[in-house]
Amino acid sequence: MKHLLSAGELTREEAITILDTATQLAAATTQGVGKLPPLRGRTIVNLFYEDSTRTRISFEAAAKRLSADVINFSAKGSSVSKGESLKDTALTLEAMGADAVIIRHNASGAPHRLAHSGWISGGVVNAGDGTHEHPTQALLDAYTLRQHLKDNSGDLKGAKVAIVGDVLHSRVARSNVLLLTTLGAEVRLVAPPTLLPIGVETWGAQVSYNIDESIADVDAVMMLRVQRERMSAAFFPTAHEYSYRYGLNVARMNTMQDHAIVMHPGPMNRGMEISADVADSSRSVIVEQVANGVSVRMAVLYLLLGGTEGV
């Protein structure tokens, strides 16, 4: 594995290896191990063109816990905001000796360009590109599901997951559909027709416009963030109507199976796609997802950089 650009490029075996590695690394944390040595001497750059404190800190923590050196490069206030191109930024990072670049960008496909253009020689990890993918989010979601449903081992065969919200604009949805189906889970997408992309019926997931018919039999409900601004482009008439028809409130949550969990990639719009009571309920594993993010990102970085150069 040289790059991690898309959840879709992982085979079932590779995905399970990442999850198993994350399990071992999480255990090391519980055992009180401080830093682990395998990335000593490696330089990892966080190249974040979009503001995202949570994901950036998660990657930074992961890299540092593996003893890598971390350089944070955020778009605000840097040469990027003065109009420097991705190419020139990449060439600078290469000159600085980056072994890997973790990139978050608002343009779908930017990590692909970085990986395949010949500007850098190191590995590229996609930390979220436009509306395309967010592979480490899908991995930590799968890790969380596996912990709750499969006792932390194997795949997700037989698990049923409903993903509810703005699928059209969601990179989390795309990565999750790809990874969950690779791991054998059954995925159901729930959204108003305006928020489902043309061609979604080819994704290998069920599609429904009705949340009440879609969550009673699943093992997990994953709520996606829905931006109020989508109202102005007529994706839905009002925030109120969206929340009424598609929001996860306590009444809906109580129709779920006893063991079923509620997930959200964050940041949440409390009151929009998810009510505050649901977010804070005992079914909600939202906080665990964040913790699992560090272990999973450690696993990805270890597998990419812990061995031969440019595997």
């Binding site: 590695t21 255990a27 090391a28 055992q31 009180g32 682990l36 270890y302 950089l305 061995g307």
Partner: protein
């Protein structure tokens, strides 16, 4: 110690059969009890995969001799190896610390084959991340010589002089269906 899958037509000879292995482990168990004076603060940490399997067996034998159970765990050394950058990143194996921990205890590392000593060096680093044992000793089923670091075993099941062109393969019944140690010529 890594073991290479032996191709079908390589000549190999058995140097320890199942009975030999069992006697060796029994002898090791007696030696450990004797030299640690039936220590109450003993913990065995096996190095995965087969070192961990042998550690479990050794702990059972020690318990049958001294009457009290011995805490046993596993210590994965993958991330502490000094040859990480020579091959693609390797899958991690489980590290299991028994509830009694290792702090202030006498830890006996258990491995199947002692060769260059680098695995044990990695194990000492891994162990130091988990705490500070009172002392660390080493028990191995087979010592095949050719040390590259100043490491020695405290308890040896069998000394096996080998040449560097040979490969020592340990198989355990719980994993390989048979208990035996073989030597074969590598390419």
């Amino acid at each position: 110690m890594t073991h290479v899958v032996e191709p079908e037509n390589r000549p190999s000879r058995v140097v320890l059969d199942a009975d030999d292995m069992s006697r060796a482990l029994t002898r090791l168990a007696h030696e450990v009890v004797e030299r640690t004076h039936g220590a109450s603060h003993l913990t065995l940490m096996g190095i995965p995969t087969r070192g961990a399997d042998l550690a479990v067996r050794l702990a059972a034998k020690i318990e049958s001799i001294q009457g009290t159970p011995v805490p046993v765990g596993a210590l994965d050394v993958t991330m502490y190896r000094d040859d990480l950058r020579l091959r693609p990143a390797r899958a991690l194996l489980p590290t299991v610390v028994p509830p009694e921990g290792i702090e202030g205890r006498l830890v006996v590392l258990v491995d199947d084959v002692l060769y260059s000593g680098r695995t044990i060096r990695s194990a000492l680093d891994a162990l130091s991340e988990l705490g500070r044992p009172q002392a660390v000793q080493l028990a191995v089923l087979v010592d095949r010589g050719h040390r590259e670091l100043p490491i020695r075993a405290d308890y040896v099941g069998k000394n096996l002089p080998t040449s560097k062109t040979e490969q020592v393969k340990v198989q355990v019944i719980e994993r390989d269906g048979i208990d035996q140690v073989t030597i074969e010529q590598s390419s």
